[in-house]
Assembly symmetry: C2
Homo-oligomer: 364 residues x 2
């Protein structure tokens, strides 16, 4: 039994510290915040104040502070779907960078629902977040959100996602390069008959990755067989691509198409493809190589471990924070600041799911 009557001892306030230490609240504030004016405060006074603050167990009331100073020391982080494995390390990166700056993150998860996204945005704005980070890869949000943000002068950045007519900063992986890296790798291993599972149109990543593939193929004289090119269906469930990868690969096998490698849109698709291949008795990587994209946590743990293109997710999260913090500081110092649209370099991670094409394989 918890009795609320346990004398919910009114929190000790700054005024308490002031009267106890014999100074005014103003001085206490200046000392405890180490404000510029603290230069002029006598060391003895500082000590007295700090000591009594500690003795009383004073804890500043953030709300009062925020109300007065108009700074909330928090930034909103809006995820489109937190169960997407892509998000985990981004969270880590964001959280860590904010922690360094003594900011707190208010995470929100839109569950891929537009109205939920907007409701959360509203809640975050009411709380006067000083900045906003939006993590998504769906082409969902339209311009009016941006309008609201820039009118209110809230520094924002998107991760894995970009708004057209960029008035808003963004951090993305260089998808085109990433796709090229993977394909180049397969090509170097001797693969010529490669099946491609493209991403859904809805995803902003899909087009540039395909472009990277086409450019490399063109440059290297690699022929892309249209019959080996598939495209994932539109879906809101981030984990559905495993299913799709499985089914599409199964279809290819049933149609007796010849290929020695599958380049999948992302890791989950690749894992689905591997599952289908294995089930059909096609060994990976002995008979068929598979590549993914993202390097989510699973990929190194899967059997076989997945060769994939890593997005530097923690770094992307940290960079987004830095961009936003720069915006915040700029506004504070009444400087100008720039919208930045940064493309991060992906990294090819070679594991066990790719191998040089076998001579006994179907590579005519």
């Amino acid at each position: 039994m918890k009795r609320p009557s346990e004398k919910s001892q009114a929190a000790v306030t700054m005024r308490d510290v002031a009267t106890q230490s014999g100074f005014s609240p103003a001085t206490v504030s200046i000392v405890l915040n180490n404000a510029p004016l603290a230069r002029y405060i006598a060391p003895a006074t500082k000590k007295r104040i700090e000591d009594t603050a500690k003795k009383l167990g004073y804890r500043p009331n953030a709300m009062a502070r925020f109300l007065r100073s108009k700074r909330s020391h928090s930034v909103g982080v809006l995820f489109f779907d937190i169960t997407d494995p892509f998000c985990t390390l981004i969270m880590r990166g964001v959280e860590n960078a904010l922690y360094q700056a003594s900011y707190l993150a208010i995470f929100a998860d839109a569950h891929n629902q537009r109205n939920r996204f907007e409701r959360y945005l509203e809640l975050l704005l009411e709380r006067h977040v000083e900045g906003l980070i939006v993590v998504a890869n769906w082409l969902f949000v339209d311009i009016h959100v941006l309008a609201d943000l820039s009118k209110r002068n809230i520094p924002s950045a998107t991760i894995g996602w970009e708004l057209p007519g960029n008035n808003i900063s963004s951090v993305m992986v260089d998808n085109e390069t990433g796709a090229r890296l993977a394909l180049e790798h397969l090509h170097q291993l001797g693969h010529r008959k490669i099946a491609f599972i493209r991403g859904p149109k809805m995803l902003i990543d899909s087009a540039p990755r395909w472009r990277g593939i086409q450019k490399f193929a063109h440059g290297a004289g690699l022929e892309i067989d249209p019959a080996l090119v598939l495209q994932l269906p539109e879906s809101l469930d981030p984990n559905s691509s495993f299913e799709s990868g499985y089914r599409y690969t199964e279809d290819l096998l049933e149609q007796r198409k010849k290929f020695t490698a599958v380049m999948a849109f992302d890791d989950l698709t690749a894992l689905g493809a591997i599952r289908a291949l294995t089930k059909a008795g096609v060994k990976v990587p002995e008979h068929c190589s598979v590549t993914g994209f993202d390097d989510i946590a699973l990929s190194s743990l899967a059997a076989p471990s997945l060769t994939t293109v890593r997005q530097p997710m923690e770094a992307m999260g940290a960079l987004a924070v830095n961009i936003v913090m720069d915006g915040i500081n700029a506004a504070l110092e009444k400087r100008d600041w720039n919208v930045v649209n940064q493309k991060m370099n992906p990294e090819l991670v070679i594991r066990d799911s790719t191998r040089a094409v076998s001579l006994t394989g179907g590579d005519d």
Copy 2:
């Protein structure tokens, strides 16, 4: 270029709505919050106020509201390590339940570091979170934290973790039952020589799971060969158990121990074990069955998909929120409330990593 000089239009305040609509701030407050007194406000007045609020794009200032009402409408959620796959669905459950209640979650990630934990706790208390949820499975935090919390009368709950001398609510899976379910399953499949990989002592889950195993073994007359019982090392890295599972299983195989099944402490350990078995040419499940615990996202995607004991993680998150909310409401209504220590029922999820013991196998 972003010019800060874009007339950062001072946010429209309640006073603006008041003067514009011709009523007093108090009335505006009552109407917009639909406070009890709103019964007495003329419908026409309500409409006028609501209309002008909408017209001006009024958005309440949460900080001012919080300062006055002493309610922050947010609860802190303290994770020990957010990269632990165990956490993802808990986050989802917590977030969703809070969303229903129009509360916002302030997530914090302690990175398994005690000082970081304490710093975050401090930050959360400064923000006057109305409740606190701590997600962990390490026996890390000691009593003085609890003392602080209950003195400040902040309803709290832990997930996957329990404090001794329980003055604080907790939500855990019934580990003993879960372990029994898994072992029972293996036993029914005919397995008699079973290797066990126990959890590290540091984890609170380890002991009850082992107890469940022992009890079932005793009841069923199953003999546990001490040579087949291993224990994971203490480690702070949630993903290290894959490595350990791999290595330990490798050791068992090298020592030519006979066993037809491995019951691993958790899913990652199980996946590591499977990897070692597969690498050594022992097929799962044909030659050896493997079970895990948790049912993290990977488990259904792995090859073979993992038979495991599911923790109802979303439900656990939601329940923790409900417990905390009940505490908050109780305090508000000056009711008493109870500390609850809830054990949730685990569920056996049978997939492809377990099979009836083969006659040709090594089961003498």
